[in-house]
Amino acid sequence: MAQIVCEDLALGYEGKTVLSHLTFSVEAGDYLCIVGENGSGKTTLMKTLLGLRRPLSGAVRFGDGVKKNEIGYLPQQTAVQRDFPASVREIVLSGCVGRCRTPFYGKKERAVAEEQIERLGLAPLRDRCYRELSGGQQQRVLLARALCATQKLLLLDEPVAGLDPKMTEEMYAIVEELNRRHGITVLMITHDLSAARRYATHVLHIGGEIFFGTREEYLARGKEGDDRD
């Protein structure tokens, strides 16, 4: 069974439908890019996948060992975070907030956080203050935090927004490695169509005409579109 199945989903708020007849599924190890113009409902879809919003109709089902709340989420940075006084270690550890039931983090959570810090090459920055890091380093910290929440599925919301080209490449390389080498399923919301063409195994295009298919199908469709123009 697939990790996520969305069946005939209709999304919207206050009775206004933004997106309807959305059907797609995500298998373990997929790298799905979700593309679409501003206002096409990407954020609404993401919130629905995270269980923060109820669909107007249809259903989101989780399977293949993935449970609701077991999505590693990388939200877009907020203004609050940019000058937040917290160490890298504190932030990564806060990724365990959903899995820990006691008032304080125990040995197990600390070990998980430490593992993610090592994995993303943050060890030398462990005690540095988040606000003093570069944009790319900050994203790596947030990615490590997301990995504390899950080892199966990452949902990245425009992970390269505001990064310079070099950092952008670095970020894509890290995500690719997590996907290819560690088998972590990646769902990425992005404006960057070239990234979708390069890295994705599947593409979901929303807004206007809905498209869901493999990267090859997406590329072929793009060609057709170009021919028509």
Partner: protein, 281 residues
């Protein structure tokens, strides 16, 4: 110097000075801890708004000749905090506008009531004491002292037990919510705790100066410390030190309590800003 110490020793033997110190320390600690979250979440103005609302409630309590004014002021302020949180979600009036409306409205209404139904012959004195605290901390009734201690301990316990989730919600509400933390509940909790602390802190520094007690220790600590735990602990200690020094100085030099405590907080801020700058270089 020795003369001061003898005088201080004499004052410290009075039970009302002792309870003022205990209550002052607890209030200072709670307000500093909460202040860190409020400042980081850009909620400083809510503290300010709630304190003005509390002034209105205090005026009503004075007009009604209540002896334990906190019993009326506390629920009213908590209610306002909850309402403000609700209206924050309502798009018709933005959050900061509704806070401003509520706070000036309550101030005006409070002053009006105090003038229409004067509780004593000295309206100006009453108003001044609720705005700037004057000696309220030294004239607390026994019920108020007990209430202050119990509430402060409850707030402190909540902070320690919920520290982990509080950090997650403060740093990134979206992530915390996706991880299954009930962010709405925590926002409500923060609003209620804010209201409680503001009402308690009004006894110490008066409603106009309450915000200072909330934000100065947090801002000072942020100048020097780089981890959330460091900032939180430093803000708490700094706030307690400033409050004790301010209280003692006000007793010794016969200055207004609230203003002296806040002056100590302001002074500490500049010292910490300087340390922060030196540390950077």
């Amino acid at each position: 110097m020795t003369e001061w110490l003898t005088r201080l020793g004499e004052y410290l033997s009075y039970p009302f000075v002792q309870s003022a110190l205990i209550v002052g320390v607890l209030i200072a600690l709670c307000s500093a801890l909460l202040g860190v979250t409020l400042v980081l979440r850009r909620f400083s103005f809510i503290g300010d708004g709630l304190s003005h609302t509390a002034f209105g409630a205090l005026a009503v309590a004075a007009v009604l000749h209540l002896t334990d004014r906190m019993l009326l002021v506390l629920p009213v302020t908590v209610l306002c905090a909850v309402l403000l949180l609700r209206t924050g979600k309502n798009k018709k009036t933005s959050g900061d506008a509704s806070v401003a409306m509520l706070s000036v409205g309550a101030m005006a209404l409070g002053y009006l009531l105090l003038n229409l139904f004067p509780a004593s012959g000295n309206v100006a004195g009453d108003v001044c004491s609720s705005l700037f605290g004057s000696t309220s901390i030294l004239t607390l009734s026994r019920t108020e002292v007990v209430l202050c201690i119990v509430l402060s301990v409850l707030v402190l316990a909540a902070f320690v037990l919920l520290y982990r989730r509080l950090f997650a919600v403060t740093f990134d509400a979206a992530f915390a919510e996706a991880s299954g933390v009930n962010v709405g509940l925590y926002n409500l909790l923060i609003a209620v705790i804010s209201a409680v602390i503001i009402v308690l802190a009004m006894n110490l520094v008066g409603s106009l100066l309450v915000s200072a007690l909330l934000i100065f220790p947090a801002l000072s600590a942020m100048r020097v410390y780089r981890s959330f735990l460091g900032v939180t602990v430093c803000a708490g200690i700094l706030s307690v030190v400033c409050t004790v020094l301010g209280l003692l100085a006000s007793i010794l030099f016969d200055t207004p309590v609230g203003a002296t405590v806040v002056a100590a907080d302001v002074l500490a801020y500049f010292v910490f800003a300087l340390i922060g700058r030196l540390k950077k270089n």
